[in-house]
């Protein structure tokens, strides 16, 4: 029999309803696995004590309502350390917020609590979600469960590793430039970034406000949809949330046209990873889907545009952290010294680097050359995608150019930034995107998972779930 912590949301919900095990037994199995493995993997920054009231309430809810109870009722989840849970420390992987306790629940947590979900703990991440490896956490790196010499990806590396190592049933992360999808690919799980505005960000510690989205990291596509359905929706506390039907409706046909931008898959992608990608496309073709060649020329400049827009927003968002009202405080001689000392001590190296970059691209004399140009490139990119969607239902490419890399391998910032080359486009356009495992490649005698990435038009999430399930199906056959 599968161990309880290895179940998916759908399987666990079924087992709870059939009384094969209790909410308490499911919780205990997940927490025991988390405690046993956490020393080695450093997935959780904190494993919470059991919330007896919530566990009892979830059990009662299932006992009373059976099938009518929400699917997430009694399901233990891992939560990225940048989502506020009232009364719990939420540090965003930073020394700056090491002792900060959330004064309210983020909207996604409120919704999950209402559904009866349980929270195992807060997961490690790159500081303020800035990084692609979890090496930039102020609290140590997280290890990839597939090969502990390698990174789990980032910035939601803790959440991805928690799901992959079965230290929870599923997890939430946030995605600004690929921070859900890239670690999902590196850890061999499913990662989903919804349409910009689909999920409330009230109570998410902001990084790049025109890019950030909260989304699920799960063992299956079905689970990603269950979690997404539980957190989606308009929120008066986040005026960027969108209503159904803001964008034109796209039908989800049974057989989809998969657009492949071949011109982007040149030298930078590992040969065996590209072979796995091509093999998956052929399987999807054999299953009745169509492959279409498309061109997205502005994609070649997307990463450059992203690394202008994102730091600009980072430097603005993190300006609020000065140690006075909350966060790390270091006393100086003057008020200005208070600010400078608190910020200098509180922020790690990568955070300081991006704040400086953002300050630069927004400074007078450079704003036209960098920020405004990047913003214009972003519009062109979005138009290109919209045009491509006339010919294709989804756009496909590998989630990353390579499998998980070794710790310290990308020590210069630019090579780390290139990790995001495929994923940033979905954040710049605001379109939903999904990464699903597409196979394994071999590195130094070990096998590492790699992911395939699909982008759909705004609010066409259903297409991604349908195609994601098709990928799972062809892999099983």
């Amino acid at each position: 029999m599968t161990k309880l912590n290895e179940l998916t949301i759908a399987e666990a919900a079924k087992g709870l309803r059939a009384k094969e095990f209790s909410v308490r037994e499911l919780w205990d199995a997940c927490v025991a696995a988390a405690q046993a493995k956490n020393k080695e993997l450093n997935v959780y920054l904190e494993i919470f004590d059991a919330d007896e009231v919530a566990i009892a309430a979830a059990q009662k809810h299932i006992d009373d309502e059976g099938e009518k109870a929400p699917l997430l009722c009694g399901i233990p989840l891992a939560i990225k350390d940048n989502l506020l849970i009232e009364g719990k420390v939420v540090s965003a992987g930073s020394k700056m917020l090491e002792n900060y306790r959330a004064t309210y629940d983020s909207t996604v947590i409120k919704k999950l609590k209402a559904a009866g979900a349980l929270f195992i703990g807060r997961t490690n991440m790159d500081e303020f979600a800035m990084g692609s490896s979890t090496e930039h956490s102020a609290f140590g790196k997280t290890l990839n469960p597939h090969d502990t010499n390698r990174v789990p990806g980032g910035s939601s590396g803790g959440s991805a590793a928690a799901v992959a190592a079965h230290l929870c049933i599923a997890a939430l992360g946030s995605d600004t430039g690929g921070s859900i999808r890239q670690p999902a690919a590196h850890c061999g799980i499913t990662g989903f970034k919804p349409t910009y505005g689909a999920v409330s960000r009230s109570g998410l510690i902001a990084m790049g406000s025109s890019l950030d989205q909260v989304g699920p990291l799960t063992k299956t596509v079905e689970d990603a949809k269950i979690l997404y359905d539980a957190i989606v929706g308009v929120d008066p506390l986040d005026s960027t949330t969108i209503t159904n039907g803001l964008y034109p409706a796209y039908p989800t046909e049974k057989k989809l046209r998969i657009g492949v931008p071949r011109h982007l898959l040149g030298d930078g992608v590992d040969a065996d990873l590209l072979a796995a990608f091509d093999a998956m496309l052929e399987k999807l073709k054999a299953a009745g889907h169509t492959l279409v060649d498309i061109e997205l020329p502005m994609s070649s400049h997307a990463l450059a545009a992203y690394y202008v827009i994102m730091p600009a927003e980072v430097s603005t968002n993190l300006a609020r952290l000065d140690g006075i009202r909350y966060g790390h405080f270091k006393k100086g001689d003057t008020l200005l010294d208070d600010y400078i000392l608190s910020r200098t001590e509180g922020f790690g190296e990568e955070t300081r680097r991006r704040i400086l970059l953002g300050t630069f691209v927004l400074s007078s004399g450079y704003i036209d050359a960098y920020y405004k140009k990047a913003d214009a490139a972003r519009t062109v990119l979005r138009d290109e995608y919209t045009a491509a969607f006339a010919r294709a239902d989804v756009v496909a490419f590998p989630t990353t150019p390579s499998p998980a890399f070794k710790f310290g391998e990308k020590s210069d910032p630019l090579s780390m930034y290139l990790e995001d080359i495929f994923t940033v486009t979905a954040n710049l356009t605001g379109m939903p995107a999904l990464s699903i495992p597409m196979g394994l490649v071999e590195r130094e005698g070990g096998k590492l998972p790699v992911g395939i990435h699909f982008t759909a038009p705004h609010q066409a999430e259903e297409r991604l779930f349908a195609l994601g399930k098709a990928v799972e199906k062809v892999q099983q056959s």
């Binding site: 005026s239 803001l246 400049h301 690394y307 910020r343 630069f360 960098y370 972003r378």
Partner: protein, 97 residues
Amino acid sequence: MATTEEVKKLASLARIRVADLELKKFTGEFDAILAYVGQLEKLDLPKGSGAQKPALRNVMRADGEPHARRAYTEKIAEQFSAREGDALVVKQIISHD
């Protein structure tokens, strides 16, 4: 080419102190990053791009439905670097001289 003086100036604008050793490192990395994002400068974009109205607009709402008085006061005040009652203590910035 970024200079150490420029990076120092940026740091002061961002209310951050950069140690001398780090200053050199940051300056070198800045050059590499700016050389990469500099590809945007040469990019020939169609006229008027970037001027489109986004589909998503800022939404204003009327004030209303306030939370109960003092519902968050203690939780927020607990986070202050220094407090007197419910007040946040900061350094005096206006002198009486």
